[in-house]
């Protein structure tokens, strides 16, 4: 298939539809409105359902209901809207249902602004909603990756019966890059999907018996039962931690004097700085977590070469992933942080200056 020049917001929507998403519920918010607009335009053409809910709370509960039917369902929003969805996300995780949630982050806290930021890392990876649960969190760094993650997110959500979040930001949502889509699933394949989930999903009793009677619930009033349930969830999360770690190594070598860690769009800017420094004979490597939960702790520890004097973390927040990097580095070398906030994005020149000071 030929490459198409597309905004990240549109590319992820198109990829979701191709992956069999026929149900989408959301409420508009900048900077992800092109996503909801694309869904509004395209869903009727594929006999899907697009519904603009009266609020984010309502949209996420529609997702909860649709997911219970074993169908591929998605919602999207930007930071303040995602906060509103958090209760529903906790319920969906508790009820062990597959769903995909896209967060095109903007500056916060509160209403903040509409420029790109990475301030929702804690919320996405450490909770956000209440209770002991985990989301699989994928952090794209290009429009192509944003699109590819839509199909991966649906597959992972199905595989683990767990909500998956794609944690992008306003820059990825708004920018255009060439994107190549995978072959779309056929209507017949999509129709068959709920049948794979027969052991737990709710669907019409076509044959009159009650074999499709399942309870979709996150309430377990008996503490002994709930204890068992949460322990089971944790077994599942341990399995995800074993299987789903994903990261990119960029210019990591024994020559590295500094090792950078950055995620999402911030990592692109760091890459430019690394390329510039290479021209001056200065060796800097980078680990980019592609999934930010589960987190590539071991990969970071292993990437600290013999000449690395410092691990440098760059984020568009005040240092949230920094905590995970510190866990990974475990005091072996000093860890430094620099970030920009409020929707202000650092430039390659600024990152280069910070890194040069390490030599």
């Amino acid at each position: 298939m030929a490459k198409i020049l597309m905004k990240g917001n549109e590319a992820v929507a198109e990829a979701a539809i191709r992956s069999g998403c026929r149900l989408y519920f959301a409420y508009p918010i900048t900077p992800q409105s092109e996503l909801i607009e694309y869904m509004a335009r395209m869903m009727p053409k594929v006999n899907g359902t697009f519904l603009q809910a009266e609020s984010e709370v309502s949209a996420i509960n529609m997702v909860y209901g649709a997911a219970g039917c074993g169908k591929r369902v998605m919602t999207s929003s930007s930071s303040p809207g995602i906060s509103l969805k958090m209760e529903g996300i906790s319920y969906i995780a508790g009820a062990q249902l597959p769903a995909v949630i896209v967060n095109v982050q903007r500056g916060g806290p509160g209403l903040g602004d509409i420029q790109p930021a990475q301030g929702d890392y804690y919320q996405a990876t450490k909770g956000g909603g209440h209770g002991d649960y985990r989301l699989i969190v994928m952090a794209p760094a290009s429009v192509q990756e944003f699109a590819d993650m839509a199909s991966d997110a649906f597959d992972l959500a199905d595989k683990y019966r767990n909500p998956v979040m794609i944690l992008a930001d306003g820059m990825l949502g708004q920018m255009m890059e060439p994107v190549e889509f995978k072959e779309a699933l056929t209507d017949a394949e999509i129709e068959e999907m709920p049948k794979q989930h027969d052991s737990w999903c709710i669907r019409p009793n076509e044959d009159g018996d009650k074999k499709h009677h399942h309870e979709i619930n996150s309430l377990e009033i008996d503490p002994v039962v709930l204890e068992q349930h949460v322990n089971n969830l944790y077994k599942k999360y341990a399995e995800i931690e074993k299987n789903e770690i994903s990261y990119e190594s960029y210019d990591v070598s024994d020559d590295n004097e500094v090792l950078c860690v950055a995620w999402g769009t911030a990592s692109r800017i760091v890459k430019s700085a690394i390329n510039e420094l290479k021209k001056d004979g200065k060796s800097v490597g980078m680990i980019r977590p592609i999934n930010v939960w589960p987190y590539p702790y071991e990969a970071i520890a292993e990437a600290i070469g013999p000449n690395v004097k410092k691990v440098y973390v760059f984020e568009l927040n005040t240092g949230q992933m920094l905590d995970d990097v510190k866990i990974a580095v475990a005091g072996k070398v000093p860890v430094e942080f620099w970030g920009k906030v409020g929707g202000v994005v650092f430039t390659p020149a600024e990152i280069k200056e910070k890194l040069e000071a390490c030599f």
Binding site: K3, L5, T30, P31, D113, I114, Q115, G170, M171, Q174, M175, M176, E177, P178, T265, R268, I269, K271, S272, I274, N275, V345, T347, P348, A349
Partner: protein, 179 residues
């Protein structure tokens, strides 16, 4: 080879479209491209700008700190971005809306009354196509044929007259670019 371009002007002058066509043409010619617009409160009435990167290598940062080429359709755009043009880089600007010009002498400056020329061609809306023409005339970033093919494919049926005006503007721009 990587070329970093910033296009800037008032909202409504079509600066985002300049970047978009350059990115699309670059993609058609098999290069890596990125297009990053300014968005938000500065879109209407104020200034709009877009960073476009065309490269044979995978593109790292889509944010451009030091452009190789700046297209400035108004004075605030020169004031804001011209100081960061790479030495030896190119500044293309519209003298009708940039009364103070640019004082740097370590860059190549292509100044022309772009608003007047667009009007002379027949429509002020072709201002951005004129800019694309100047870029094609001065650099080897993209080819005229790619632009013609792209414009033809989506405008010929809908608006053949506007297509002719656009192509005319690009050709005129190429002449200006070649000097």
């Amino acid at each position: 080879m990587t070329t970093e371009l910033i296009c800037a002007g008032f909202g409504g002058q079509g600066v985002l479209t300049i970047g978009k066509f350059i990115a699309k043409a670059g993609m058609s010619e098999g290069k890596n491209v990125s297009w990053l617009p300014s968005y938000g409160p500065e879109m209407r009435g104020g200034t709009a700008n877009v960073s476009t990167v065309v490269s044979e290598e995978p593109i790292a940062s889509p944010i451009v700190s030091f452009p190789d080429v700046l297209v400035a359709l108004n004075q605030p755009s020169i004031d804001k971005f011209a100081p960061s043009i790479r030495p030896g880089g190119i500044l293309i600007y519209n003298t009708n809306m940039c009364p103070h010009g640019c004082k740097r002498d370590d860059i190549i400056k292509i100044a022309s009354p772009m608003s007047d020329i667009a009007l002379e061609i027949g429509n002020t809306m072709v201002l951005n196509m004129l800019a694309i023409g100047i870029i094609i005339g001065k650099t080897d970033l993209i080819r005229y044929e790619t632009m013609e093919e792209d414009l033809t494919s989506f405008m010929k049926a809908k608006n053949p007259e506007l297509l002719e005006l656009n192509l005319k503007a690009i050709k005129r721009g190429i002449e200006i670019g070649k000097g």
